[in-house]
Subunit: 228 residues, 2 copies
DNA sequence: GTCTATATCGAGATAGAC
DNA sequence: GTCTATCTCGATATAGAC
């Protein structure tokens, strides 16, 4: 097992910036990053070997260890980057919603800030579709590092929880947390596998082409559930 | 890769019966079955080796292959058994609800039939708690066999879908399927990992000791979402 | 920085004694 | 039926040439 620098997963700072070519990094590194994300998202972490990744990327076998240190570290780096991106988008939308509503955004706007970024990523017309699948998979199949990061870092969710609590002073806060929990489950259900199964079950009566329509559906369901 | 008998996963018949000792099967087989289920549920399929299983069971290394054929086949057998158990309980409850309501059970009773069996299993006072974790994990981390079975066999869900559709003749059926999809996501969210994370986030304001209370919460949320 | 060749290990599966 | 000893393979990681 390779040691990793003792850096805490921070959700706000992002040394790698927006661009996919942070500094003057080797192009190889990006090729590996993208190939790995794609293969992990499609087939699961444990079912993809370093050989698969380097073959898909068209680079040599040693690249993964040279650029990332180990297979596990590569996985963690992808996870960190995508998590930061997603949470930054969510935080920005929540911030805007707060500003628009003099500090007390209504439930539906809070949920919109939570749902919209992952739903945008899910759009079949979007490259990031694969990144969202990666994140959802990493959540259940990830390494010990990832599980630790997920378990300990909940600061981004805290802001959403607080906003929701403020809308329902009548409810015990525990109850609000449980409802947030159900709402998050709705997002995690957007895996390829579950979506495919849904389409089989409904015999084609469900289609996920229209992301706006899906967002609307999710908002309707979650808002009604939360406001119950 | 070992070949498996071309048996289709049927959700109604159950050659192994209720008991944990089907016939006069070797006690070893049951020890392996239980140890494997437990370790898979706790650590994930790919992170548990045949050696781990046999060590935990206190039997020799060759038992897995002798009794089950292969590691993959063992996993599939556990999956099949638990899936049948769970779906039989659900089917029975739906049947009873249908009888009680002259063929047209209301939404809340349909959802109760869907939620109650897994929630009962989730009870910390219950041994089956581990079986439920196994099933949830198998859903995302399972082998190709399991994915195929999940993807093709949706007959048990079909009955729930039909019952829900009957309660809402006003809605396009596609819409009903989507809402059922969200509801299923709520169930899958009951993984140890997600529950632990929730308890961290809420700083102890959520507790899962009271299964009845959780069932009530889930029903309230899902019913409101579905009826929206 | 990049690649080839290889070291090293741990996995699942199996042969054959008891 | 059960166990020990072993086969075989595929994995990650690395050494060292270019």
């Amino acid at each position: 097992m390779t040691e990793r620098k003792g850096c805490v997963l921070s959700l706000t700072d992002d040394p790698g910036a927006e661009s996919d070519t942070p500094e003057a990094e080797a192009a190889t590194k990006q090729l590996v990053f993208n190939a790995a994300e794609r293969l992990f998202a499609l087939h699961g972490f444990q079912n993809v070997s370093v050989r698969d990744i380097t073959a898909e990327a068209g680079v040599n076998l040693a690249s993964v260890n040279y650029h990332f240190g180990s297979k596990d570290a590569l996985l963690f780096e992808i996870f960190k980057r995508r998590t930061q991106q997603l949470n930054r988008e969510r935080a920005r939308m929540l911030h805007e919603a707060t500003d628009r509503n003099s500090g007390k955004p209504p439930v539906r706007e809070i949920l919109t800030a939570l749902f919209t970024p992952p739903l945008r990523w899910l759009d079949p017309a979007n490259d990031q579709r694969i990144s969202l699948q990666f994140l959802i998979r990493a959540r259940s199949e990830g390494t010990a590092d990832i599980r630790a990061a997920l378990g300990s870092d909940v600061s981004h969710l805290k802001r959403f929880a607080d906003a929701l609590i403020a809308t329902r002073p009548d409810l015990p806060v525990g109850e609000v947390y449980w409802r947030l929990h159900f709402i998050l489950g709705m997002i995690h259900q957007n895996r390829f596998m579950e979506l495919d199964r849904l389409h089989v079950l409904s015999e084609g009566q469900t289609r996920e082409g229209e992301i706006d329509a899906l967002l609307e559906r999710m908002l309707n369901f979650a808002e009604a559930g939360f406001t119950a």
